[in-house]
Symmetry: C2
Subunit: 231 residues, 2 copies
């Protein structure tokens, strides 16, 4: 048994450009899938146009409530020589999604785990920021509550000053308010990279100082965006 971690696209109609050949090859040979969302996964496999009959495939949904025992049960119900794919809603599975629980269980059961190459907005944002990749931290979502969020932004600013790149995000429909917060709280000289719609045709990635961003704010409403901060 092998557990393949299969990245999906971040933006529509980009599969041919951004997915390496190994993904098509693995999907064409895999009939069992652990996925964050079954509908998205079925659509993704269809779009690869591999001639697979989607209704013959076996999907097991993983969400934040899935227990270790359930995942163990899934593995035990699959033929021992099968290949299993793990797919998240978008991007690389196991990074900020429930796929990690399947990977943990695979290691415990001695099952081989093979990660495949694909798009990650965290990594693409980091590459394109121009900030240090020698030392960086991904925080996921910052607190929603105002006082806690402001305190956290001050902590990130302090970390950024010792050349550790700070990476974080917000739910897309709150991006504009979040950007306002950052521009209000952070020091004018601090550098902020906004990596928006990464890998899409309208990708927007720019690094400027807080002072420069204050003069011309981009509209990030409902657009998937990664924020990066450095000295």
């Amino acid at each position: 048994m092998t557990l393949f971690l299969i990245p999906t696209t971040l933006a529509p109609d980009t599969a041919e450009a951004v997915l390496p050949a190994q993904i098509k090859q693995v999907v064409s040979q895999t009939d069992y899938y652990f996925v964050e969302n079954i509908r998205t996964a079925r659509r993704f496999i269809s779009e690869l146009k591999l001639g697979k009959t989607i209704d013959d495939l076996h999907f097991y949904e993983l969400d934040k409530n899935t227990t270790v025992q359930q995942v163990k049960g899934y593995f035990q119900g699959i033929p021992p020589d099968a290949a299993i794919g793990v797919m998240s809603e978008a991007g690389c599975p196991g990074v900020a999604d429930p796929g990690a629980i399947a990977v943990q269980m695979a290691h415990q059961l001695g099952i081989r785990v093979v990660p495949l190459v694909g798009p990650s907005s965290i990594l693409l944002g980091l590459m394109a920021s121009g900030f240090s990749g020698q030392s960086f931290v991904f925080h996921g979502y910052l607190p929603i509550e105002k006082a806690a969020r402001h305190k956290m932004l001050k902590v990130l600013e302090k970390n950024a000053q010792s050349f550790q790149t700070q990476i974080f995000m917000e739910t897309p429909f709150r991006n504009n308010a979040f950007l306002d917060d950052i521009l209000q709280i952070c020091h004018p000289d601090l550098k902020l990279c906004i990596a928006c719609n990464v890998s899409a045709s309208d990708e927007f990635i720019q690094t400027k100082s807080i002072a420069q961003w204050r003069k011309a704010k981009p509209d990030l409403h409902k657009k998937p965006t990664m924020f990066l901060m450095s000295q």
Copy 2:
């Protein structure tokens, strides 16, 4: 002018499997390159078999001593409508290599920066570890001096206990001694993922407790390895 960040392979003979089509497409249209090592870059482009005459290409070497002024000079010497590629020795440019200085300058000069998808041992190790990708930190190389290294390992262990995945590495010829240090210093219950020769045919990625690793140590001598730690 556009600055493309072009990932290269991590392991020999893997280009066809791990590189997406957009890389071949961009390289076929790009004649100017900022690279970490000219010989490696020429060989990589040859291996893509795009029919390009390598001697017609323009290479500018970036190393840790390259200054901002030099990079600015490079940009100024290139035709304004040209595409420029940035390539590191292996994997994704701008992450733990001198490519970031070119990206910084591009942002300052208002040049569009486009990151392409490709292999990263940090990201592939994180995906395959089964550890939290909601919150993680990459530390690069730990201190070489024994007391400082031990102190740092205790700090990482403490961070790992609050479910922040810790990622770090060592120069490959010192990997075995480094693993001995980790196994000696860290708590038996702590989990360690060893991601070795990632994307190669002899890829080895396993997550076990420190206590389990103590019973059977893999030989990591001269093998590129990423270490990941979590509770």
